[in-house]
Amino acid sequence: MIRTPLRPLARILEARQKGENPDAIERENLRIRHEQMRDKARQRAESRLLLLGIMFFCAFAVIGARMSMLAIADPVEPRTHAAGSKIVSQRADIVDRGGRLLATNMETHSLYAHPHQMIEPVAAAKSLAEIFPDLDEERLLKDFTGKRTFVWVKRKISPEQKQAVHDIGEPGLLFGPREMRLYPNGQLAGHILGGTKFGEEGVDAAEIVGIAGVEKTFDAELRDPAREGAPLELSLDLTIQSTLEQVLHGGMVLMNAKGAAAVLMDVHTGEVIAMSSMPDFDPNHRPRPLTQGDASDSPLFNRAVQGVYELGSTFKVFAIAQALELGLLNPSTVVDVRGPVVWGKHKIRDFHNYGKELSVTEILVKSSNIGTARIAQMIGVERQKDFLGKLGMFVPTPIETSEARTGHPLLPKNWSELSAMTISFGHGLSTTPMHLAAGYAAIANGGRLVTPTLLKQSGPALGERLVSEETARLTRAMLRLVVSHPVGTANLAEIPGYQVAGKTGTADKYKAAGGGYHDKKVITTFAGMFPANKPKYVIVVTLDEPVETSGDEPRRTAGWTAVPVAAEVIRRVAPLLGLRPDFEPLQMAGITLASQ
């Protein structure tokens, strides 16, 4: 651009000749130049404004168009990538370690009524009472003819019942879909599974909430949609659980016991393979909790994880194992067993008089209270407390049923030397059979603690070391003698093919109302492990108030009550666990092939 001068020489000279002021020309030119500059700036600003306007218009137009499209379009699910295959029932199944169903869901119907839509409420109430004998006709009639507009008639009905109700032809009776929890095995593992109830209820669906057992502990996990229906795998084995329950029930009846509990645990993983408490219940029809009396009389009470009992002489193993570990003695050390041991006003006696002295092995085999009390004195209060604490004897077991949390062991208020002595033979400290099983598992697996669990584990889960391999081995050898020695208290547990090691325990029951012990009511326990040379499983069988009456006089000791039951359990269960008997099987008479 050629810049026009503010004082063009030709015009200046001309103006000077005419005698005009040449500055006027300069001012004039300056004004023109300013005007031009202003016009240019305005033009640029206007074009910018226009561009901005267009941009805003476009943006708003796009938003407006999208909004109107959303407004006029029908709402539809994104169909192209709907993962239909993932739509599964609202609560995951529970299966045993082999994948066999323990709990599943079933589609069923609920029945409700709209009384204001009813044509013949009287006839409907009568017909319903005929179809469902548990319904009260009077009550139904009152509901149907009253002011209510909505009445639940039945939460769950079967297809046959649905058809029967349908056939009444009453338009005021309506059905809603309902998913219900089903335990196809009935009573089996009832205590472990627990049960469910309906939570939030609507006409179209109802929430299923776990109220006990693993159903309650894993309630959130089972309901988590992110599982995509993957079943919860328990450590139980259905076949073994069934066998255990059958034998335990038979044993409880034979021994005239009012209750029984048994735990079968893998010693390396802490997996509970089977667990039972008698009397039991069917989780499909969970009984109501007792409102009065002793809670432990209810079938809902799980003796294996909730019931705390003084488990008697089975505890002697812990005192002896600890003394071995501390190097205080060895299996052949001789201990003075002259009694009674007097401590304050208390006296500790033996079941029989065992003479002057016994070796440690004999103390265990013959189950001498005095001998064990002497060993406890050697160990001392603090070390005993520490050892039992490590075994988890002071806190409820971590087993995953909701009831286990209430199984608080009962400890002495003041842990004196007397307490130490009585606890060493299982009096003064009350624990659950599950505690005992976990304790025995630690000795069975070579001295490592295990955590009892109801969930299937992928491999051994050995925890902190409690005693050395050598101590565990020596203790197991002594426990084996309790069974294999002719005078051993558990000699009835000697079964052909399987070497069992274990210890009996008989403890008087203390009176629930206080005031000492019952005279003729006992808790008998057998805690054992098999096969004895390399234990894989621990079994604990506890009977509540058993009396064996086949002899001349009633027998109540564990050797006559809990041991035969435990032996029968092992005899039946060991082959099912895949354990080979360690004797040469008899030559079977003439096996012929079916094809020949």
């Binding site: 169909r79 192209t80 709907a82 239909g84 295959s85 739509i87 599964v88 029932s89 082999g98 994948g99 066999r100 169903l101 599943t104 869901n105 079933m106 589609e107 089903l182 196809p184 095995n185 009935g186 009573q187 089996l188 259905l238 076949t239 069934s242 066998t243 059958q246 079964i495 052909p496 093919g497 399987y498 005899r571 039946r572 060991a574 082959p575 099912l576 080979r580 008997p581 099987p585 008899l586 030559q587 079977m588 096996i591 012929t592 092939l593 079916a594 094809s595 020949q596």
Partner: protein
């Protein structure tokens, strides 16, 4: 020349529109089919769940035990015990496996079988 171009353009637009509608209808048909199949899958799943529950119910240990007791004279089934373990050498050598004739084969679910 110009009218030819005009005709060509119009026919092109018609053809493309036809193609677009066609694809649209095909997609909708496919989606309907997917919906239908998913509904079918849902029904089958429900049925499968019921069948699995029924299978578990019919195979519950209590019932099998009762059945074994009821049919003891025909089957002679006893609880598994230690003396039933054998050793491999006890099994007679068979020469011709083809002799084994299978008849009355029944399909069973393997859902409950041990893996």
């Amino acid at each position: 020349m110009r009218s030819l171009l005009f005709i060509f353009t119009v026919s092109f637009v018609v053809a493309v529109a036809f193609w677009a509608y066609h694809e649209n209808y095909k997609t909708q048909a496919a989606l309907d089919k997917v919906d239908h199949l998913q509904q079918q899958i849902g029904i089958k799943r429900e049925r499968l769940a019921v069948l699995r529950a029924e299978w578990a119910y019919l195979n519950r240990p209590d019932r099998l035990r009762d059945l074994a007791d009821l049919n003891f004279d025909r089957l002679g089934l006893l609880p598994f015990s230690a003396d039933q373990f054998g050793v491999l050498t006890d099994v007679p050598k068979t020469t011709d496996l083809a002799v084994l004739e299978l008849n009355g084969i029944v399909d069973v679910s393997s859902a409950g079988a041990k893996q």
